[in-house]
Symmetry: C3
Subunit: 265 residues, 3 copies
């Protein structure tokens, strides 16, 4: 565990030193909170979505995060253009297929984006099951109703199919490259009562991808960092309103002592 | 009053147990805060607005909230499709006609949506007057400049015309089905200094409509709940920044003791 | 300095008494936080962007703020229509050219809007340099990497070219009408870790333009007010999450005593 603590701390320091520009094409609900989480950690967020400029913008960014939470046609066009360009430029990118399985549109768009080839897919168990074409009877919007463990094998398949890393987030987060599997046991139950913390996790994966060459490591470190910040914030918070605020403060204050809570195995 | 306290508490418990999926087509300003209010209360929010998927999405939701705060053509199309489908599926839905009367576009869209047949219309006094085609000299954007009492008769008319429940929110909230009239005397003056608490009230009406068969009851309970949470938060807050946070915590912590503050008559 | 304190306090009181309606066409990331800042100060915000209604809406507003943070074609159309109408109606308006220089689209749109003739342009040093056609090697998204001092001469040029006031925000804010130059030395370093405080500054410039006839004065007072509120909030905050909240409370509580911190020269 000590090795993981040191490794996560080194990743955090690299983000703070490098201040990587993370290009987000994300949903309206979480734009403010994910930008703030990236800033609190030490990265530099930008939210840019027009088809006319996304390809040029991603060229000056260090990584890209595509989140399909609030879809519409012009955004889908921009997402596809930008993801394709990111691959051409060898910029790492994260796909967050919010609500895949809930409507045919979401399933189609998620599949198309996955086929372009993300570096990391981060999703909850229902979404991983839907994307892995495993029938998930419970997908309804953005909540996960499947325990994350049930999605481990579908996640491995998905990682092998798309040659990417897959993160299944839940009470325990599982991170796999189709071969290796890491479990991250950080977080706080009240985090499920704050909107968009899954989206925030995806944004942090984007930040760590900009500084860590191994996407399995980047993804695991990001999940540990948001989990630890959530634990610290949860312990100080009377409810989800204060948790949202305290989480940003915890990301800002994060140091090696706080990271002693990291549980990656 | 004791009966109302118990009834509101039962409604809250039904939301927490049932975790109804509330489909929101709402404005950009409040998406994050209304999603958080629904989560804090115990409901499950989703923000989905593409014309390509709203009809399918509302089919898996328990209720729908349409808020015209930040209008544009593609959203208007989606709102009309989704409201029509909600009626076909007998899903209850709320119309929040933000700024009706301020521009011809808002007046036209609000009228069209009202004619589709919402279950509840929640608006401030200026908006109710405008929608009831009573000339309101003061409508300017989203603030109410008319005392809510002056809108009681127009609200009754509106409720009769559209066979729906109308909520006029203000220092006192009035709720009418065109016949019965309830007054809800909860809330805190500082709530007018936080953006989107009217929109949040509409979202909570959506949550209660999912668990209470009588829309008059659902609407009154929602207004009481946000009012009580606002009172608790206001008493703890140095300004509107902390009020916004404490309101979410208060919704999360709401119990029968806190609800002793309910003033419905 | 005492004169400035009294003058800023008078401006704040005018905003609180007049409650000017500030029309914002701004980016998705900051809509909620800028609306809340305007409300906390005492102004009345509205976020309205549809081409079908912006010209009618600006007619009932006291001032306009155009911020290009999250551009797309329909919004560009609305921005141009609305800015043109504002000039016809002699309503003051602010241009916040977020990320100008980062992509050709942003540079083109910023130039077009500047040519329409804003009352005030508020930008960081990189953006002022880009807009003044001074090559800025470091523009990357919305962060400023140039010290604001280096942009003073380009800002003067820009102010002369467009016959407007230019604010270069940074650790020290510079405000010029092309002739006179004011320096505002308020603010807190942690403000750079909260998303959209530059956008919030632009929104406050909009509020002060509604009550102060001299745009140089309005812009300097707005920068002093957000700086002072940031100082008060920063001193109370463990991180950027609490700073964002405390800033709203500080704007709400702002009085002549707090404004003794004003440093305009």
């Amino acid at each position: 565990m000590g090795d993981h603590v040191r490794a996560v701390w080194e990743s955090v320091q690299k983000v703070r030193t490098g201040q990587p520009l993370v290009h987000n094409i994300t949903n309206y609900v979480v734009m403010n909170t994910t930008a703030n989480a990236l800033l609190a950690l030490g990265a530099a967020p930008a939210m840019v979505h027009a088809a006319e400029e996304v390809e040029e913008f991603v060229a000056i960014a260090s990584s890209l995060v595509i989140n399909i939470g609030t879809l519409s046609s012009p955004w889908i066009t921009a997402m596809r253009l930008c993801a394709t360009r990111a691959n051409e430029l060898e910029k790492p990118w994260v796909l967050d297929p919010v609500g895949v399985g809930a409507t045919p549109l979401r399933t189609r768009v998620s599949d198309q984006l996955a086929q372009i080839g993300p570096t990391v897919i981060r999703a909850n168990a229902s979404e991983v099951l839907a994307l892995a074409a495993v029938s998930s009877r419970h997908t309804r919007g953005v909540d996960s109703t499947d325990p994350s463990q049930a999605a481990i094998e579908p996640a491995r398949q998905l990682a092998q199919t798309y040659k990417c890393v897959v993160v299944v987030s839940g009470a325990v987060d599982y991170v796999t490259d189709g071969d290796k599997l890491l479990a991250v046991r950080n977080g706080h139950p009240m985090m499920t009562r704050v909107t968009g913390l899954g989206c925030t996790a995806s944004a942090l994966v984007g930040a760590f991808l900009a500084v860590e060459p191994d996407p399995l490591v980047a993804a695991a470190h990001a999940m540990a960092v948001i989990g630890v910040a959530g634990e610290i914030a949860g312990a100080r918070s009377a409810g989800p309103g204060s948790l949202q605020m305290n989480l940003l403060d915890a990301l800002y204050q994060l140091d090696e002592t706080a990271l002693a809570r990291v549980r990656i195995a």
